[in-house]
Point group: C2
Chain length 217, copies 2
């Protein structure tokens, strides 16, 4: 059904995430896409062009959850965001790991993979600073480090869960909930009592993405 070009881009992203740039041979990508290797070159000219385009598309297509511009109901907002962001990072974990591992050799992929995280972290930082200005978060904490810490926690979960799964809660949603709780406590936001302060907090919204298995995104 899908065009040959799309099949090649999909296959390239998949193979690249699994085996890295050097491991992603044009032969294997073409085979995975079910097309002739020559067709790959006719469409993209070179392996490099194809893989860069594939990585770009893999990052653009996946919808990245945004942290709200202005805080309103902090606790549920944060819980929702943490859950969605963790699911998102988990979905992209394989290609992120591979790209990060090749950063020193191929720094040209940094913008393809690092733009979204930067926006997210800066957004989270601005969110915390706004809370501080409104007197709803502790003014003494360093908003930058807080944003880095909790994005980092989600990032580390996505990167490390495949490697040491026994350390984590089985359920991604449970983990997200705990991370959110710790975040709120760290920045000094009081959760309103009616919502069940700790322990089993209410699921915020539908969260369909992200299976915690070893399958690639």
């Amino acid at each position: 059904m899908s065009s040959i070009r799309e099949r090649l881009l999909d296959a390239a992203a998949r193979v690249y995430a699994e085996t890295g740039y050097r491991g992603a041979t044009t032969r294997r990508i073409a085979q995975e896409a079910g097309v002739n290797e020559i067709t790959l070159f006719r469409h993209f000219g070179s392996k490099t062009t194809l893989i860069i385009e594939a990585v770009r598309q893999a990052n653009l297509r996946s919808d990245c959850p945004e942290v709200p511009l202005t805080p309103s109901e902090v606790a549920p907002e944060i819980r929702t965001w943490v859950g969605e962001e963790l699911a998102h990072l988990t979905q992209l974990r394989s290609i992120i790991r591979t790209s990060l591992g090749e950063v020193e050799e191929r720094p040209e992929i940094i913008p393809l993979i690092g733009e979204k995280p930067r926006e997210v972290i800066l957004g989270l930082r601005a969110y915390v600073e706004q809370l501080q200005r409104e007197g709803r978060a502790d003014p003494d904490i360093d908003a930058r480090s807080a944003a880095l810490t909790f994005f980092g926690a989600l990032f580390a979960d996505a990167m490390g869960r495949d490697v040491m799964p026994e350390l984590y809660h089985e359920s991604l949603e449970d983990s997200a909930d705990h991370y959110a709780t710790l975040f709120l406590r760290a920045i000094g936001v009081a959760e309103n009592a009616g919502n069940g302060v700790r322990g089993q907090a209410p699921r915020a919204k539908g969260r369909a993405r992200g299976e915690p298995s070893l399958a690639n995104p």
Copy 2:
């Protein structure tokens, strides 16, 4: 000075960290070590043997800071540990990134690279649980997630600082201090007023390791 075997192991770890398994050609490793390529094979038999041994040694030789078994003076203990652990992860960041990027293709390196983190996270978790038993930390927080969150924050710093340096505090020590503060607040440990609760907290111990430059470990 150093034996040929050691020179080869060093060079192999360096080249592997830079270019990954496929990129680390025997030719380049031998050249980097200043020995003949044939000598490499006479010593280690195969490229795989050499690289596995090199990665193992690179992880063993670097002294990993331990979180204390039983908590006494929590705030300074944590501050010291966070600083040392961040420096340690920063030092190994290149080889960690590369290994993680190849986990799916070469899972046999997981134990070489993942043993230390596991111990650290479990130790941190036990430390928090002990604090909770002693009534010095909030009993409602999830110790497992707290340990994962704050080790994850340090891990993410070490992995991401090269990629988006403008997001981070320039000084590793300052960053560590902020992470420690957030950790203490998240698990509900009150810092005693005499020690300078926030802001410029006292440096705990000598911390010689880890330069934040781009040079490889």
